[in-house]
């Protein structure tokens, strides 16, 4: 079970893996995620189901800390101890009209299944994807296929338009064509910025919140976020929420909760790796 049958590096820091998980793959819907644990001592971390077919789950992750770095060292033929899911409420896919799908950085991987589903549901799908620099831009071809229009930004101008995804979003809004929905996934500061752009226009805006999770079933409360002044659990009430209601600052704070420990954990892991190789 949970064997890695394919692995691809999309960038030095971004990997794609395909994992066997038949039942989960048969059930997964856009917007849902799994929690994985590499081995007995491992942490449970959430990853979006980018694609699910033929009994395989496609996961794309960025190596940011101990678990994702460790995951990046695994190869084809290795197995994961657990994959649990599909978790979270699926994104609400229906015909809205014109939707704008925004993905930033690794968030593109999370936006992709939703964009594809929007398009399949008959929406006019405008996608904006952005990254710090060209080499970090993932799934361009896939996003192009899933969109009626694709706009690309890079912070350094190495590809597409130099700037931020919200600059492109503003331009689209300025075109004056009504937008039924904006869906954004990426760094929290990006999602916050998107919310601020659409708020004055009253455009319905959804974000997928990447809070820290443990069980993913509503039991621990680790993933709690404040939405419309109420405490919600991202794993069962979300991960999609109305961007205009989310307390992003609180969320940014909570994502920093384990910084010191994470740093230590990663250091010890790299040291061990160095000894082994």
């Amino acid at each position: 079970m949970f064997e890695i049958v394919e692995k691809k590096d999309l960038h030095e820091t971004i990997c794609l893996i395909k994992v066997t998980a038949g039942l989960i793959a048969s059930k997964a819907l856009p917007g849902q995620f799994v929690l994985i644990r590499i081995d007995e001592k491992g942490e449970r971390i959430p990853l979006t189901i980018v694609d699910a077919r033929d009994g395989l789950l496609t996961l794309i992750f960025q190596k940011v800390g101990k678990t994702t770095v460790h995951l990046g060292t695994l190869s084809k033929g290795d197995s994961l101890a657990d994959v649990v899911g599909p978790l979270g409420k699926p994104s609400e896919i229906k015909k809205y009209g014109t939707v704008v799908c925004i993905g930033g950085g690794i968030g593109i991987a999370e936006e992709y299944p939703v964009a594809r589903a929007f398009k399949e549901a008959g929406n006019y799908c405008i996608s904006i994807i952005g990254a710090r620099t060209k080499s970090l831009l993932i799934l361009e071809d896939e996003m192009r296929a899933a969109s009626d229009e694709l706009l690309i930004t890079t912070d350094d101008g190495s590809y597409g338009v130099k700037g931020l995804v919200i600059d492109e979003l503003r331009k689209i809004i300025d075109r004056g064509k009504p937008i039924s929905l904006v869906m954004a996934v990426g760094p929290v500061v990006m999602m916050k910025a998107v919310a601020e752009v659409t708020r004055p226009y009253g455009i319905k805006t959804l974000v997928s919140l990447n809070s820290i999770m443990v069980d993913g079933t509503g039991m621990c409360g680790a993933c709690r976020v404040s939405v419309g002044g109420k405490t919600k659990f991202a794993c069962v009430d979300g991960p999609d929420f109305d961007a205009h209601e989310v307390d992003f600052d609180l969320m940014i704070g909570r994502l920093k909760m384990y910084l010191a420990d994470e740093k230590r954990s990663l250091e010890e892991f790299t040291k061990k790796q160095a000894v082994h190789s």
Partner: protein, 487 residues
Amino acid sequence: MNSDKPKKKLILERQKMSRQDPLLRSKNFKEVALGYTDEEAVVEAVRCIDCKKPLCIDGCPVEIDIPGFIRLIQQRDFLGSARKLKEKNSLPAICGRVCPQEDQCEKVCLVGRKGDPIAIGRLERFAADYERRIGNVEVPKLPAPSGKRVAVVGSGPAGLTIASDLAKMGHDVTIFEALHSIGGVLRYGIPEFRLPKAVLEAEVDYLRKLGVKIEKSFVVGRLRLLDEFLMDGFDAVFVGTGAGLPYFMGVPGENLNGVYSANEFLTRVNLMKAYLFPDYDTPVVVGKKVAVIGAGNTAMDAARCALRLGAESHIIYRRSREEAPARKEEVENAQEEGVQFHFLAAPVDVLGTPDGWVRALRLIRMELGEPDDSGRRRPVPVKGSETEFDVQTVVVAVGQGPNPLVPSTTEKLEVNKKGCIVADPATGETTKKGVFAGGDIVTGGATVILAMGAARKAARAIDKYLEGEFEGKYWSPTASSSSALEQ
């Protein structure tokens, strides 16, 4: 010993059970209570006067033959004693450790009227441990397979109990558990120092020997719905998903960094072994000073874990010591280890640092007023009595509600106002045909033994149902047939 004499000369004092030294144990996660030696157990067992009308049995939610198992300890037939226990209780090594005996069997024990009641819990634990230590766990001969399949959702005490009962009745049982590990609260909530995981493992092994199948990391309501189980060829389903939804206090600042629900704190520590970080990957952040809000078993466990992680640990409770719902023994253990108690105080605010971490609690003093619905005197805040209490970590242990995942994804499964599944206490029957429920998901947070008792009753009902001899009281045949027509 002459059979008449000891009755006249009661041994009033119970045998002490040795425990790890408080100073030592407050720094490790090894079991606190060490259990009786054979000799101690026999001496304690001899105190039992083998009442003609043993009140202790009435005090036990699963009606263990208490004088019976104690008599076998007197006769040094320890294995026999363990087997006698298992006739009524499938998890004696667990119950002997975590049951609130002082409110159940021991409360009504006759000997308790003149001195200390018989240490029934400790003896239960002794016998069960003996069996496990000797490695002579007997698996009963199973009846011929009935050909019926039952899905058990959740692997807490309720799920474990019903799975073993139904397997012993010849049914094909599969447990579906959301976490990667079996045991429910016994696994993720109750710490190693109170319930060693090896004890739980032995129970899980026993289930496997009975032929029970176990699917871990399987979230029912997401990966598969209850209705799909029924369509997949399961003849009945038992829901024992527990009360795992953490309640918060609803005070400002509660989402600051450093504020944990007890569930998250305990799950990180116990299930994910954060106390072994960074050897294990999951961290837990514990400041120099920790405040745990509440005084139930959950609160004691959290406070004692915090202490073991090196913090100064404080319990803050809005009522007085008398109302504290935790087991007395655990309150004493906590106190001995150095947990500090603040009664009649409640947080009104969690105060933060500029970068979003907990800095202090604002506490208000409480007075006890008139008794409320629970019969306990209601705490009333004293105006103007707020003080600041510096802490870096806050653990909220003010109770938990039923997990909504299964009810919210199942049609025709009725829940009450609190979100608990409505089920007949005598049979576990729910409003949905073929679905039974028991344990905390029905009662709200209760006890291990009550969850087991409910599961036992549901096992009998399900057995009858599978034989076609169970008349559902709540199933509405009209409702289900009309929806069948719609389809």
